[in-house]
Amino acid sequence: MIAEIGHFTLILALAVALAQMTVPMWGAHIRDARLMSFGDSAAVAQFGLLIISFLALTHAFVTSDFSVLNVVQNSHSEKPLIYRISGVWGNHEGSMLLWVLILGLFGSAVAVFGRNLPATLRANVLGVQASIAVAFLLFMLFTSNPFERVDPAPFDGQGLNPILQDPALAFHPPFLYAGYVGFSMAFSFAVAALIEGRIDAAWARWVRPWTLAAWMCLTLGIAMGSWWAYYELGWGGWWFWDPVENASFMPWLAGTALLHSALVMEKREALKVWTILLAILTFSLSLMGAFLVRSGVLTSVHAFAVDPDRGIVILGIMMFFTGGALALFAWRAGTLRQGGLFAPLSREGGLVLNNVLLSVACATVLVGTLYPLALEGVTGEKISVGPPFFNMTFIPLMLPLLLAMPFGPLMAWKRGDLRGVAQRLAFAAGFAVLFTVIVAAMTGPGPWLAPICAALGLFVLFGAITDLLSRARFGDVSRGEFLRRVVSLPRSAYGTALAHAGIGIMVLGIVGTSAYQSEKIVALKPGETAEVAGYQLLFKGIQPTKGPNYSEQIATFEVTRDGAAVTTLLPSKRLYNAPPQPTTEAGIYAAWTGDLYVALGDEQPSGAVSMRLYFHPLVRLIWLGAVIMFVGGAISLSDRRLRVGAPQRARSRPAAVPAE
């Protein structure tokens, strides 16, 4: 019965979304406040219904109700509870339900927290948002219904792909989807503004928090996926330029550009056309990611719906929304008035440079992802555009971006003083070079590009600190005054600095692990020792054990360094019961300087076990950087100014700002 309630609420959500799509937009058209406010309650009701639906499916998974087809196909009674829950979104139908749930979450957030928006804008945004929900709900109900039942019910399910049974992967999709779907808000705002024909600085202020929230979640989601690939796939790599990874990376690049161009639009009313276009394209790229992984075009862990028909429906949805929005855009673009002017060397100029580089980088990734697919579709020839392509095209675009990054926040609006900024950054640059020279001298030779990139990473990190210091006027004022200023800096300033610092830290991790990693492939018998990066690993042997739904071969390594015991590593290979599939669990020891990483291979006829030993210097900084970016975004999001505009607030607290 509970599954049926979930099914019904999903259908009811569709009916409510249809009303939410039409009534408030008509209300905005005839400027009827009550019709417009209908959108608010509809958005909340829709979200509530989707929650019930989602909980109902979760209930079916948790109780292993195999009368629900989706549970049969993707779960198993032996699975531990957490993976029975994460199994809800570990498949096509359930992940679509999560998708529409998050869509509903953002819609209801606009209804609840969007009181500072003009009523017509809010009504139109909710209407557009509901139209996206309608498309996906129809898609779900008619091609991918998670509540389809089987009667008679089979006794047990087919299980979840074991390599998805992992904590990082349990939470990777919700964040990723929050990112993808969050960009639908930017899209809805853009389309709503185009419908109203009113696109101004205030619009940019209103769209920013939603874009920022989506961007944060996407950042964390991508980082979790990368972290999972690092320790679960057993190759020690953290990014593969796999089309599925690219599918999530492209919206990130476009969304990052959008965050920055919206800033220009808010401050100067410039880049209007471009910002609107980015808002549309960012969401289109999110939809394209969904299309790529669900159409069967790609084969990967993520390709859980290898069904061309569904793919075509998603393609249709994507074309409808992108095409419709772009047509509206073309129709309205002529009416947009020119915004503020600025010199090339200015904050705006820096942000434009950022946008150009990020967009070109995004286009590069798009070409590298789609070209092989298109070629295969046209000629049937299979080519692989691997890391070499991306390293040759993407990295040269990122180097100038990193170099320019510390300059941006320090430049003045309209007309910047490059010389003055360069002077302020001299310390940061000097420190970066000094550090790099010292470290390069200690580590010995590596690729020639590595020290340059490392220096850039440090420059970005120190540049972010410089930005904060100069905002607090370090050196110009007394120490007490300086401290007071540090404390009272707006949160968005901290957010910017943290996010930029996170990039710098991530770059350091990337350089460290790409240029200086040590790798060894050996075959050891019990009692033998191998050495990597100064660590001695004594292979003690392999023990079989049993997990809740798998059997496991655990190898034991005593790790020592210069005779002193360091740790014991326990890499393993698992064989899951249902479906019977092997996975590798790497043994990882996190030292300050990097990760010692052991992955087991196969047993050789001689009795030796082949294994791969790695030392990845600084690799954790990659994910640490992503987390810092997330935190920076969160701090920025809590900034008072992103909430401003609520008239009541402005009336009741007219003096809320002088402290700053």
Partner: protein, 390 residues
């Protein structure tokens, strides 16, 4: 029924929420129109605070202020029409009213088309493999039966379902299905044997005229078939033709394909018939007897019948009882034995076990306590008495 109540309540709740939101909305028009003005006012304040911090020079601040000021003026120039609160007669009530009707109707129609309101929850816990297998067979049978109701002359349908009925111990239906299949598709030895077996089992072991006829046809189609000869012998025995029966049975004993078990069964019949011939009273053979009585598909495909399961359980219980007789210092074993007897419905045996256990465990207070507690929980006779005595 409960499902429909829940769905109705949900729908009513949602429609109520939507209507309430619509009714209580006041024309927040003035505030909404000022939303962007608030943003620009904030930007002006920001310029002041940046100036105060020294992040902007006075000239820069002035031009920035002028810019924001222009935006404010633009805003005022492009003043929108007033936002109204749609009252009666504007058409908004009708629009919302239509939505309030369409939402439930559409949802209900779609749900009836897509949902499966008849299916209950089926959590894995509490389900057993047998039940699942039986469910599958039941559903298959139901599908075939439905088809046969629509097309009763479908011989293949009868042919498929007949052996399944036989395995499900629905002998009457099995016999009818075999008869239909024979009639529609023509007789084969397999179907004839199936019919005879089903007919005999349906009649509690009596070989009636139909079964006898089938056995005779079977024998003429495949001379020397032991199952057919066995049934004919039984028929003779039941008809009182003991001499014929005896010679049939003896002939069977020498047949080449007889297994020791079958021979043993036949010898039992022989001695019984000999006694019957002398006028003694002997128990009638049960329905399940002799060779050829095993279902045609062989035992491996068949889910263990309840009788077989019962036999297996009783064997296990007997072994446990024997072990406890030898070594009685096992309270858990005693409790298990007691539980087994209770499940089997052998209350007096359970009470006896309790007595035995108390004797075997006397002196071990903890173990006694455990046994007594379990006995009280299960409601074994004599358990309460003992507890009250304490």
């Amino acid at each position: 029924m409960l499902l429909w109540v829940v769905l109705s309540v949900l729908t009513a709740g949602v429609v109520g929420l939507l209507l309430r939101g619509y009714r209580s909305a006041d024309a927040d028009a003035a505030g909404a129109a000022r939303a962007d003005v608030a943003v620009y006012a904030d930007q002006l304040q920001q310029i002041d605070s940046d100036l105060g911090r020294g992040l902007l020079s006075a000239v820069e601040a002035e031009s920035a202020r002028a810019e924001v000021g222009r935006r404010l003026l633009n805003r005022a120039a492009a003043a929108d029409g007033p936002v109204v609160s749609g009252g009666p007669g504007t058409g908004s009530e009708q629009l919302v009213g239509a939505a309030a009707v369409i939402i439930p109707v559409l949802a209900l129609a779609l749900y009836v088309a897509l949902g499966s309101p008849g299916l209950p929850n089926l959590p894995h816990e509490g389900r057993t493999r047998d039940e699942a297998a039986r469910n599958q067979v039941d559903a298959m049978v139901a599908r075939v039966e439905e088809r046969l109701r629509a097309a009763p002359e479908d011989g293949n349908g009868w042919d498929v379902i007949a052996p399944i009925y036989l395995r499900m111990e629905r002998y009457g239906q099995a016999a009818e299905a075999f008869a239909n299949a024979n009639r529609l598709l023509g007789e084969t030895p397999k179907r004839l044997a199936g019919f005879a077996q089903a007919e005999i089992l349906a009649n509690n072991g009596i070989v009636n005229a139909n079964a006898k006829l089938a056995a005779e046809r079977l024998l003429s189609a495949e001379p020397g078939r032991v199952d057919a000869r066995m049934w004919l012998a039984l028929a003779n025995e039941q008809d009182g033709q003991f001499d014929k029966a005896l010679s049939d049975y003896r002939g069977l004993l020498n047949a080449p394909q007889m297994s020791p078990a079958m021979k043993e069964a036949i010898e039992v019949r022989i001695s019984a018939v000999e006694r019957l011939a002398r006028g003694d009273v002997v128990p009638a053979p049960g329905p399940r007897l002799g060779p050829g009585m095993a279902p045609p598909g062989g035992a491996a495909e068949v889910p263990a019948s309840p009788a077989d399961q019962q036999a297996m359980i009783e064997g296990m219980v007997a072994r446990l009882a024997a072990r406890l007789q030898g070594d009685g210092k096992d309270p858990a074993g005693w409790v298990q034995l007691m539980r087994s007897y209770m499940v089997l419905g052998r209350m007096s045996d359970a009470a006896k076990v309790l007595a035995d256990a108390r004797q075997a465990l006397s002196g071990d207070a903890g173990a006694l306590e455990q046994v007594n507690k379990a006995a009280t929980e299960m409601g074994v006779d004599g358990a309460a008495k003992d507890v009250s005595k304490k």
